[in-house]
C-alpha cells in the first residue's frame, strides 16, 4: 500500500480528486470490456481462468445494461459457457475446472441474457444444486464441503431462474440463514460470523426469492446498510472500513430489495462511483486513483 493509501486507511475514507470524472463514461467502459474479451492471450485473462464464467456474466450483464450487448460475440460466449459443464450437472469457471454453485448460477444467468437457456439441461443443473444442500439447510459451494451463506443465494437464484425452486428444501435453508442473522441487523458467512454487506446481499436476496423477507427486521438491516455510506459518498462493506465501489452494488441492491433506497444519499454516492472511473482506459477502480479491475 502506498503512503497515500495508508493515510486513507487510517481515517477510513478517501478524498475525491478535483479532476475525477463527473459522469458515467459508458462508451469507455464498453470498450474496456470488449477489449478484455478480445485479448484472450493476455496475462490477466489467462491467470483469471478460475473466475472466468462468473467474470463473463458480470461483463455480459454490464454490456446488456448499457445496451451494448451486440458488441459481444454471443455464439462464442454461449459455446464457451456450455463447454464448462461437468458430468455432475454443474458448471465450472472454465473447462477442466470443477463445478461450483457460483459458476453454475453465472452460467444460467449468461445463457438467459443470450436467450439460450434451452441449450442447458435444467433438470441436471437442479440435481447438482440440490446435491449440495446439507442436513442443516446450508449449502456447500462445491465438492470441497465449504459452507457459506453466499452459496444459499447461488442455489436459490439458480433454481428460481430455472423455475424449479421447489427442488430445494427452502424451509431448512431459511432456518440456516436465520442462524446467520446478527443482532446488528446484518448477516455473516456462517452462524456466529460478523455482518458483511456482500453476505447481507446474498441472504436477503435468498429470502426475497423465497418470499421470506418478513422473517427479518428489515428496517434494522436497512439501517446497518445505510451506515455503510462514508463522508465521501462511497459505501464500505463493514463498519470502520474504507469505501470500495463494489459495495455500491452489494449495499444498494440490498437496500433496493428492502425498499429503502432512500436511506442513503444518492447524489454523493454517484459522485464517488463516477470518481472511481478510469477516464483513459475505461473501467472502475475500487476507489478513486486505484487501478481498474474486472472483479
Amino acid at each position: 500500500m502506498s503512503f497515500a493509501g495508508l493515510l486513507d486507511f487510517a481515517r477510513k475514507d478517501v478524498d475525491l480528486p478535483q479532476s475525477s470524472p463527473k459522469e458515467l463514461l459508458k462508451g469507455l467502459h464498453s470498450n474496456f470490456i470488449q477489449q478484455y474479451e478480445k485479448d484472450k492471450g493476455g496475462y490477466h485473462y489467462i491467470m483469471a481462468e478460475h473466475l472466468r464464467v462468473s467474470g463473463i456474466y458480470w461483463c455480459v450483464n454490464a454490456m446488456d445494461l448499457t445496451k451494448e450487448l451486440h458488441r459481444m460475440s454471443a455464439d462464442e460466449i454461449v459455446d464457451y459457457v456450455l463447454s464448462c459443464r461437468n458430468k455432475d450437472g454443474g458448471y465450472g469457471p472454465a473447462p477442466g475446472h470443477d463445478s461450483h454453485l457460483l459458476h453454475t448460477l453465472c452460467a444460467v444467468q449468461t445463457l438467459i441474457i443470450f436467450d439460450s437457456l434451452q441449450k442447458a439441461d435444467a433438470e441436471s443443473i437442479c440435481e447438482y444444486v440440490k446435491g449440495l444442500q446439507q442436513d442443516d439447510g446450508s449449502f456447500c459451494g462445491d465438492l470441497s464441503g465449504e459452507v457459506d451463506t453466499r452459496f444459499t443465494l447461488c442455489s436459490f437464484a439458480t433454481c428460481h431462474l430455472l423455475g424449479r425452486l421447489s427442488a430445494l428444501n427452502i424451509d431448512s435453508a431459511v432456518r440456516f440463514l436465520m442462524r446467520c442473522y446478527n443482532t446488528d441487523g446484518g448477516f455473516g458467512t456462517r452462524p456466529g460470523s460478523e455482518s458483511h454487506s456482500g453476505q447481507i446481499y446474498c441472504c436477503i436476496g435468498a429470502l426475497a426469492i423465497a418470499g421470506r423477507l418478513d422473517d427479518i427486521d428489515r428496517d434494522r438491516t436497512a439501517e446497518w446498510l445505510a451506515f455503510r455510506q462514508c463522508d465521501s459518498g462511497g459505501l464500505n462493506g463493514r463498519p470502520e472500513k474504507l469505501p470500495d465501489v463494489c459495495y455500491s452494488w452489494w449495499v444498494l441492491a440490498s437496500l433496493s430489495i428492502l425498499g429503502r433506497l432512500d436511506f442513503i444519499d444518492q447524489t454523493s454516492m454517484k459522485k464517488f462511483i463516477y470518481a472511481c472511473q478510469d477516464d483513459e482506459t475505461g473501467g472502475f477502480a475500487d476507489r478513486p486513483g486505484d487501478c481498474t479491475t474486472l472483479s
Partner: protein
C-alpha cells in the same frame, strides 16, 4: 485491483513486464494442462501434488486444485488406514506410514500458511487449514490459535481469520469464557475493532443462553459492567461505530422488547385472531409460515391461506395471515405447546393486549440503573462534540427504548436534528424512525378504542408518516384507516388486509400500485395527491373489485374524470369536495 494505486509506467518497464507476463502465462498453461490430464487419468501421485502446490503458491484461489489435493490426500489417508489394519505388516512399517501421512498433512498446513501470507483473504487457503486440522492425528491447536492471533494482529478485521478461529475454538473445545477472554485481549489492544466486539457479543450470548428455550438472559449487573467497558471505547473515539453498535446491543438485550429484534429466540405469540365475515385474520409477533399456522387452528387445509407483506405480493411467511372462509376458524389462544390448550371460536376478537402494549410502548419499561448513567454519558459527549451524530443518536435510541412517552418531544426534536443537520446523508432513516415514533404515539391515544369492539377506525393525520411499518400488528382490528396529510409515497406497502375504507389524501403519492392487501376496499380517498394519469392507477383498481366510491378532489386526475369513468363504470367518482 483492490488497494493498488495507479502509477505511470515507462515503455521500457512495460516491455519488461509484458515479457515476464508471457513467460508466466506459458508456465501456468503448461502446468494446468498437465494437472488436468493427470487428474482425468486418476494419477493422484506426488507429481500432481507438487504441480498443484507450485501453482497454488502463486494463486491460492484456484479451488479446483485444492480439491485435487484433497482427493490425493484422502487416497493416502485410506491407504494408511489399510496398512494400519493389516496384521501382516510390521510395526515399523506402520509407524513409517503413519508418520509419512502426518508429514504430508503438516506440509499442507505449511502450504496453506504460505498462501495466506501472500493472500490473507483466500477462502480456499483458509478452508484447507480447517480441513487438514480435522484429519491430523494430533492437531496442534495451541499453535493454530496462535496463528489466528498473529493473523489478527496484521489485520484485526480479517473475517476469514475470525471464521477460522471459530472453527479452531470449537475443535479445540475452547469454552465460551475462554473466547470471551480472547475478545478482552483484542479489545484492550485496540478498542476500535468491530470484529472483536461482535465476537464478544456472540460469546456472551452463548454463555447466557437458556439451553431449553434458546433465549438469552443477561442480568442488569452484567449489562452495567459491559457498559463500563464499552464506555471507555466511545470516550476514546466517539466516531467509532464498533462501540456504539455494542452499546446498542446491550441497551436492547435488557429491555423486554427482545421479541421484536433480530436474532430473537422468544417464542412467537399470537397477537390477534378475528373473524371478518369472509376470512379469519391471524396476526403474530413474528413472521410465520403455513405449517406453523396450522398448529394454531382447527383446520389442516393449506390452500386457503393468504399472507401479506409490504415487500412482496406473494410472501410465504408473514406476520399477517387470512384464512378465506365464510365461517370462523377455531384458534388456539394459549401457547400451542401448553398443557391445557385454550381454544377460541372467535365469537369475539382475541387480542393479546400485553404484547400490543409492548409493541406500541403503551407502558414504559422500568429503567434499569445503568440507563441514567448511559444517558449522562451521551449528554456529556454531545456537549463535548456537538457535531458528532453518534452520542445524540444513542441518546435518542435509549429514550425510544425506555422513555418513549415521557420523552416523546425530545425524541422528535433529536431525530429532526439528526435528519436536518448532523447526518443529512441518512435523513430518510431518521425520518422513518420519527414516523414510527409518531405512529406509536397516535396509536397509544386510540389504543383503548381500537381494542374495544365498537370501532375499527385508525386515524393518524398530519403526523409526518413516511412509512406504515408497524401498523400491520393491527391488521385484525382496523377496517377504516385515515392517513391524511402524511409523507407516504407508496400505497402498496400498507399491510391492513381488512380495510374497507382508506383515506390517503394529501400524501405525495404519484401512482397506485396493485396491492393484494387492499382488495376489500369500498371507499378510497386520494384527494390532494399528485396522481395525474388514469394509466398510473388502473393496475391498482383491477385489484379492488368491491370499490364503490373514489374521492379524488384536488388532484390532476380531476381533468381525466371522463376517461376514468369509462374505466371504472361501477364506481361513484367524486372529483370535488361534497
Amino acid at each position: 485491483m483492490h488497494f493498488v494505486k495507479k502509477v505511470p509506467t515507462t515503455e521500457q518497464e512495460k516491455a519488461a513486464k509484458e515479457k515476464e507476463h508471457a513467460k508466466r502465462s506459458a508456465q501456468f498453461l503448461h502446468a494446468r494442462d498437465r494437472i488436468i490430464a493427470k487428474r482425468d487419468a486418476g494419477e493422484y501421485d506426488d507429481e500432481l501434488l507438487s504441480l498443484t502446490q507450485a501453482i497454488l503458491e502463486k494463486n491460492a484461489d484456484i479451488y479446483t486444485f485444492w480439491n485435487i489435493r484433497r482427493t490425493a490426500i484422502e487416497q493416502r489417508i485410506e491407504a494408511n488406514e489399510l496398512i494400519q489394519k493389516n496384521p501382516e505388516i510390521g510395526e515399523d512399517e506402520k509407524l513409517k506410514s503413519g508418520q509419512k501421512l502426518e508429514n504430508l498433512l503438516a506440509g499442507e498446513l505449511f502450504l496453506s500458511y504460505e498462501c495466506i501470507k501472500s493472500n490473507p483473504k483466500s477462502y480456499s487457503a483458509w478452508y484447507q487449514r480447517a480441513w487438514v486440522l480435522q484429519r491430523q492425528a494430533a492437531p496442534d491447536f495451541a499453535k493454530e490459535l496462535a496463528l489466528c492471533e498473529k493473523a489478527l494482529q496484521m489485520d484485526c478485521r480479517n473475517f476469514h481469520c475470525w471464521d477460522h478461529r471459530r472453527i479452531v475454538a470449537r475443535l479445540a473445545n475452547r469454552t465460551e469464557e475462554q473466547e470471551l477472554e480472547f475478545s478482552n485481549k483484542l479489545i484492550d489492544e485496540n478498542f476500535s475493532n468491530y470484529s472483536a466486539w461482535h465476537y464478544r457479543s456472540i460469546a456472551l450470548k452463548n454463555i447466557h443462553r437458556d439451553a431449553q428455550t434458546g433465549e438469552t438472559r443477561i442480568d442488569d449487573s452484567l449489562i452495567g459492567s459491559e457498559l463500563q467497558k464499552v464506555k471507555n471505547a466511545f470516550y476514546m473515539d466517539a466516531e467509532d461505530q464498533s462501540a456504539w453498535t455494542y452499546t446498542r446491543w446491550l441497551l436492547e438485550v435488557g429491555s423486554g422488547k427482545e421479541f421484536l429484534r433480530p436474532e430473537s429466540a422468544a417464542p412467537i405469540e399470537l397477537i390477534s385472531a378475528s373473524f371478518h365475515g369472509n376470512n379469519t385474520t391471524l396476526v403474530f409477533s413474528r413472521a410465520v409460515t403455513v405449517p406453523f399456522l396450522l398448529t394454531f387452528v382447527d383446520t389442516k387445509d393449506t390452500t386457503r391461506w393468504r399472507a401479506f407483506s409490504s415487500t412482496s405480493p406473494h410472501p410465504t411467511s408473514s406476520r399477517v395471515w387470512q384464512y378465506l372462509s365464510d365461517s370462523p376458524l377455531r384458534v388456539v389462544i394459549s401457547s400451542p405447546n401448553a398443557e391445557n390448550v385454550e381454544w377460541s371460536d372467535l365469537k369475539e376478537i382475541y387480542v393479546n393486549r400485553r404484547r400490543l402494549e409492548t409493541i406500541y410502548d403503551v407502558v414504559e419499561t422500568p429503567e434499569p440503573g445503568y440507563i441514567q448513567e448511559l444517558l449522562q454519558d451521551c449528554h456529556q459527549l454531545i456537549e463535548l462534540e456537538p457535531k458528532n451524530k453518534w452520542p445524540l443518536y444513542m441518546k435518542t435510541l435509549v429514550l425510544m427504548e425506555y422513555q418513549p412517552i415521557k420523552a416523546h418531544d425530545e425524541i422528535i426534536t433529536n431525530l429532526r436534528t439528526l435528519s436536518d443537520s448532523l447526518d443529512s446523508k441518512r435523513s430518510e432513516l431518521y425520518k422513518s424512525l420519527l414516523s414510527r415514533q409518531k405512529l406509536n404515539h397516535s396509536i397509544r391515544e386510540q389504543f383503548e378504542r381500537l381494542l374495544g369492539n365498537e370501532h375499527d377506525q385508525l386515524v393518524v393525520r398530519y403526523a409526518e408518516l413516511t412509512s406504515l411499518e408497524g401498523v400491520e400488528y393491527l391488521a385484525g382490528l382496523v377496517g377504516n384507516a385515515d392517513f391524511q396529510g402524511n409523507l407516504l409515497k407508496e400505497i402498496h406497502r400498507i399491510v391492513l388486509p381488512n380495510l374497507h375504507s382508506l383515506t390517503i389524501s394529501e400524501n405525495p403519492i404519484e401512482s397506485l400500485s396493485p396491492s393484494p392487501s387492499l382488495s376489500h376496499l369500498t371507499f378510497l380517498s386520494i384527494a390532494g395527491t399528485q396522481i395525474s394519469t388514469v394509466q398510473s392507477v388502473m393496475p391498482f383498481f383491477q385489484t379492488t373489485p368491491s370499490l364503490d366510491r373514489l374521492l379524488f378532489a384536488e388532484t390532476p386526475l380531476v381533468e381525466k374524470t371522463e376517461e376514468l369513468r369509462a374505466q371504472l363504470p361501477g364506481v361513484r367518482l367524486i372529483p370535488h369536495w361534497l
